[in-house]
């Protein structure tokens, strides 16, 4: 009889590492599957620092943060499968059978539970509809980061960055440090998408202009990009005629958002949440499919790796504890003012005393108040001096004394204004 793992973790980035460590520490036999030849995921190319302030109380570079977890993993009995691709996941009577391909050929890993730690993907130029030719020289920020930080190659001498997501801001600084000219960062929205500190330490420190309500409208170039056209947009995001401007450059770098990677989840009919674009999950990070857990950026694009690790640590522990016990769910309704949150549902038969809520505001808000209503009655209020959509908030909630049952209506809203 072939071996059946208690937990199989798919993805060896920060979420997968934390999930595997935690599942192992909770007594589970664990398989960790990673398609690349070494662990660490995106952290390998995030050579900048700022990671780990919450988790380790220290400002670490991305690879340092990953290494802390790789060291923790070495102290466990986790079986690590590197350079291994998952091709399919099938339900089985014992749990799940994961079809894999690696240099030993085609085989399968059998497991009782799965933690999906597949991270997220960058939106590409195809998803932002830029007109013009199709020259080389259009990169996502992550691809540019891979070139510079892992391959040691510069993808540009002079570039324009579209989108003010954090990776774009980090790359604006990185490329400038390496001698390239970043002509400017262009953001179609009236407010930046990245963290305020990154606007300051990555752009303003290096005199890189940030153009809000402005977008790239066209790209030019035959083999290689040589020019882009930018233009201002109005409140309805329509281009304002007459504001077009031509910029000569050799690259356009896109930092236009991240989307949870849920290809495997979808084949298993895991329900996807409209707001997070990740799986629906309960307070134990279990998805709508019994035995399938999701964590990290595959679940919800976090802005801090510390929160990625925290969610994965819980997911790993939950997977290790999984007994197939009966659960009863109520959905948490997303009211006004909230962009997204996790968990998206509650298992009312499970533990409710320490529910970790991660949420984002839908817009900039001063003096914001998070309100939790159960059956129309306000049960909990939490005040914030200000909230910004790029800055995710974390709250620990004790929901065990509210008498939640299968018919309870739980509603979360954000309101502005308090004294």
């Amino acid at each position: 009889m072939s071996r059946i793992f208690d937990v199989a973790v798919i993805g060896g980035g920060p979420a997968g590492l934390a999930a595997a460590v935690s599942a192992s520490e909770n007594g589970a036999s664990v398989a960790l599957i990673e398609r690349e030849s070494r662990l660490g995921g995106i952290l390998k190319q995030c050579v900048h620092d700022g990671f780990g302030l919450i988790r380790f109380g220290q400002k670490l570079a991305g690879p340092e943060y990953a290494e802390r977890y790789i060291e923790l993993l070495k102290n466990t009995k986790t079986e690590v499968f590197l350079t291994t691709f998952v091709t399919a996941v099938k339900k089985a009577d014992f749990g799940f059978s994961i079809a894999i391909v690696n240099k030993e050929g085609i085989s399968h890993i059998d497991t009782k539970t799965i933690v999906l730690a597949t991270g997220c993907r960058e939106r590409t130029s195809k998803q932002v509809l830029i007109q013009g030719t199709r020259p080389s020289g259009v990169f996502t920020a992550g691809v540019a980061q891979n070139f510079v930080n892992l391959l040691g190659k510069m993808p540009t001498k002079k570039c324009v960055i579209l989108g003010s997501g954090d990776i774009g801001l980090i790359m604006a600084r990185r490329l400038t440090l390496e001698g390239a000219e970043v002509e400017g960062v262009y953001e179609v929205k009236p407010t930046p998408s990245g963290l305020t500190r990154n606007i300051h330490q990555c752009l303003f420190d290096f005199n890189i202009p940030l153009h809000l309500s402005t977008t790239v409208t066209r790209v030019f170039g035959e083999d290689r990009l040589n020019t882009v056209e930018v233009a201002q947009v109005d409140e309805k995001m329509k281009v304002v005629e007459g504001t077009e401007r031509i910029i000569e450059c050799d690259a356009l770098i896109l930092s236009v958002g991240l989307i949870p990677e849920n290809e495997i989840a979808e084949t298993l009919d895991v329900k996807i949440n409209n707001a997070t674009k990740g799986a629906e999950c309960d307070q134990t990070y279990m998805t709508s499919v019994d035995g399938i857990f999701s964590a990290g950026n595959a679940l919800n694009v976090f802005d801090l790796v510390d929160y990625v690790s925290e969610s994965a640590q819980s997911a790993g522990a939950s997977a290790a504890d999984y007994q197939g016990t009966k659960r009863e769910y109520i959905e948490i309704e997303r009211g006004k003012g909230l962009l997204s949150f996790v968990p998206t549902r509650l298992d009312i038969l499970g533990k409710l005393d320490k529910v970790i809520l991660f949420f984002r505001a839908a817009r900039d808000m001063d003096k914001a108040k998070l309100i939790l209503k159960i059956n129309g009655e306000i049960k909990l209020e939490k005040k914030f001096s200000y909230l910004r959509p790029p800055e995710m908030q974390r709250l620990e909630l004790d929901l065990q004394n509210y008498g939640l049952d299968g018919s309870s209506k739980v509603l979360l809203t954000l309101e502005e204004g308090w004294n």
Binding site: R38, G50, A61, P63, E64, G152, L177, G179, T196, D205
Partner: protein, 119 residues
């Protein structure tokens, strides 16, 4: 003087008036504001070329913050470095950079990480 704190992702909005700091969420913010108002410092992270084709660059950082005005000079210096030893995370890549009394250290043990399936 209005500042944005860059110590942590909270990005507090700070006001510095003489030696008074307000708007900070923690003690580190106060220290940051006082230093930023007089002599701003930054940590620098970058990569150094190596002699190893599997890992052409090694990620590094300044062990502590250096004066903001020295960043350009530091980058010039780093461009001249070439790693020929299989360094580990925390190993010194260059000592006392630019005479600042600060070391440049590796932030990854790329050369020693196991890379294939362990049996």
């Amino acid at each position: 003087m209005e500042l944005i704190c860059i110590v942590c992702p909270k990005s507090c909005h700070l006001t510095v008036d003489g030696d008074k700091v307000s708007g900070n969420g923690c003690k580190r913010g106060e220290l940051f504001a006082k230093e930023e108002a007089i002599a701003p410092k930054r940590s620098v992270t970058t990569t150094v070329a190596t002699a190893f084709c599997d890992f052409p660059v090694l990620p590094v950082k300044t062990e502590s913050d250096i004066p903001k005005a020295k960043i350009e000079e530091l980058m010039q210096f780093v461009r001249g470095l070439y790693v020929t030893k299989k360094l580990k995370c925390g190993d010194v890549v260059a000592e006392n950079i630019l005479g600042l009394g600060i070391n440049l250290v590796a932030t990854e043990s790329v050369f020693t990480q196991k890379q294939e399936v362990s049996e």
